[in-house]
């Protein structure tokens, strides 16, 4: 603790260099000592008589200097070392690893092409795995209908609360604001044609048919797919899933089915909530900006918008729920042994779920257009 900072003295005597080290030779003083040693060449003697404390880092520099000088055909004499210092040097010299670091391999054109191929097959395998997970969950869902004893009601209620009830505020607020934005933007555009009243149709059709369920699904994908992945992934990390298997419990029944079923039940309800909140938001804005009173809004809504729009919107909800649930559970099972892979899989689950929901929505749009509703 009270050791003095290192003192380095370099003398030349009788054709060789004498270095006197004294004081403290520790890792904190290494840069200075390394600088002094870098200049040394030819036969060298190092006198350590004055060293009060030497740690392994200091000893390492000495051992490295000796190796360098010996490689140059010279010699290093270490003398006057106190017993403690000598033992540190001996320990370090014995432990010094043989460097065998391979140079990083150069990546050629073939490697890059192979990389592209590997990614393609990887993507294909990922899709196959998702499909397998989907099949597994469907099979287990059906089996629980035959054998309701296995079904975990408590887990289902718990997940329904987490997935549905706790998401109501954010979903309602989001849909309300979307309604406000639509009404405001629609009003400014439609006013140019004197067709302000059609703003009701604009709001109703876009929210009921598309935006209500789509944006709800995106929020749920962000909230719930990540939660599924994190929960299942951390159970996988701590070998809880393996423990379940050895106890004869099926992780698919215990973990996946309640979660996916909760989503299946809750997402349509959340979509209804979002539809209502969106219409309220649009109605309020139409009243404020365009003087369309709420009764007028309601009349126009009932007259101008077919109930088909509402049905088309809600029909998509269970499909989106399945997508989100399957992606979340699958990503959870892909988590490996460390915390980093948990984070990577969680963000991958959110991205995949949102992307898949939007793709499915596009497919539905085309489908409904083809059959003419």
């Amino acid at each position: 603790m009270s050791e003095a900072a290192p003192r380095i003295e370099t003398l030349h005597e009788a054709g060789r260099t004498l270095v006197r080290l004294a004081g403290r030779v520790t890792v904190a003083d290494l840069p200075e000592i390394e600088r002094a040693f870098a200049r040394l060449g030819g036969p060298v003697a190092v006198d350590l008589a004055g060293v009060e404390r030497m740690d392994t880092a200091g000893a390492h520099v000495l051992v490295r200097l000796r190796a360098r000088l010996e490689a140059e055909g010279q010699a290093l004499e270490i003398r006057g070392a106190p017993a403690a210092v000598e033992s540190v040097i001996a320990t370090v010299a014995a432990a010094e690893p043989a460097p065998e670091r391979a140079a990083p391999a150069r990546r050629g054109l073939v490697d890059r092409v192979a990389d592209v191929g590997a990614r393609m097959t990887g993507a294909g395998r990922f899709g196959a795995e998702l499909l397998a997970m989907f099949g597994l969950i469907l099979a287990r869902l059906v089996r629980t209908i035959w054998r309701p004893r296995d079904f975990r009601m408590t887990a289902l209620v718990h997940h329904c609360e987490a997935v549905g009830w706790q998401a109501v505020p954010i979903v309602a607020l989001m849909a309300f604001l979307i309604g406000v934005v639509l009404a405001f933007q629609g009003a400014t555009q439609l006013r140019q044609f004197g067709a302000e009243v059609f703003v009701v149709d604009l709001i109703a059709i876009s929210i009921l048919r598309e935006l209500g369920v789509l944006l709800t699904s995106i929020i749920v994908a962000g909230r719930t797919a990540s939660a599924f992945t994190a929960a299942i992934g951390s159970m996988k990390m701590r070998e809880e899933i393996d423990a379940m298997r050895t106890l004869g419990l099926d992780p698919a029944v215990m973990l996946f089915v309640p979660r996916v079923l909760a989503l299946l039940l809750m997402l349509p309800i959340l979509a209804v909530v979002a539809n209502a909140a969106g219409l309220v938001g649009g109605g309020v804005m139409a009243w404020v900006v365009l003087d369309i009173s709420p009764p007028m809004f309601a009349t126009r809504l009932v007259e101008g918008t077919g109930v088909a729009n509402y049905v088309i919107g809600l029909v998509k909800a269970p499909f989106f729920a399945l997508i989100i649930g399957v992606v979340g559970c699958h990503a959870g099972m892909r988590v490996g042994g460390n915390a980093e892979s948990l984070g990577r899989q969680t963000s991958a689950a959110v991205v995949t779920a949102i992307f898949a929901v939007i793709v499915a929505d596009a497919v539905f749009s085309v489908l409904f257009a083809e059959i003419g509703i």
Binding site: D55, T56, H60, V92, A95, P97, N338
Partner: protein
Amino acid sequence: MSEAIIRVRGLVTRFGSHVVHDRLDLDVARGEILGVVGGSGTGKSVLLRTIVGLNPARVGEIEVLGTPVPARTAAERARLEGNIGVMFQDGALFSSLTVRENVEVPLRRVAGLSARTRAELADLKISMAGLPYAAGDNYPSELSGGMRKRAGLARALALDPEVLFLDEPTAGLDPIGAAAFDRLIHGLTQSLGLTVFLVTHDLDTLHAVCDRVAVLAEKRVLVTGTMEEMLDVDHPWVRDYFHGPRARAARPDRG
């Protein structure tokens, strides 16, 4: 040898209404290896965590290397952090870094150290901890439990601390690995002049490594002394512990 490197006086640790330590006193002298034993739940690991400053809320005084814990100023904290090394039970390696990068983490605090020297020192510590050179490139999840412990030891030794804290160093190792780890700790302590605070359940480790044993019971340090002295202590738990069938098997003279 009588200079106390770790000094604990009147330590009271409480979790809610549960009192773990009640007016606990303990001294660890420079250069000694102290083994801390005690039944499950007697707060051995809690004591270790408190001494290294991870459980700050407490009554009593703790000094490590003459510096009060928790440190009051940034300078004191830096001095403490540079001079103590802690090996946690499962290594507590950073899972997103390779073993070499893990060992380099404490070395990054040293100003002016070149990247090459840092990597060399990390390799040296990895080798001193008894790991093969190639293990430096592995991630912790690719290592076995014993190798993770060794890597944790390498990281704890990175700055050549004066005091080393080991939490259950041999738990979960096979007997051969545990004996090798005992020898490693003993050898490193001898050659580097470390002071070691070691929490363990392993009677073989106590025999092979520890200069002195401290028994935690009844919320304090019940007794300290060498292994031979422990055999004469007249306290039911201590007697059961050091005279039990496992203790007899572990005794070097097969007594």
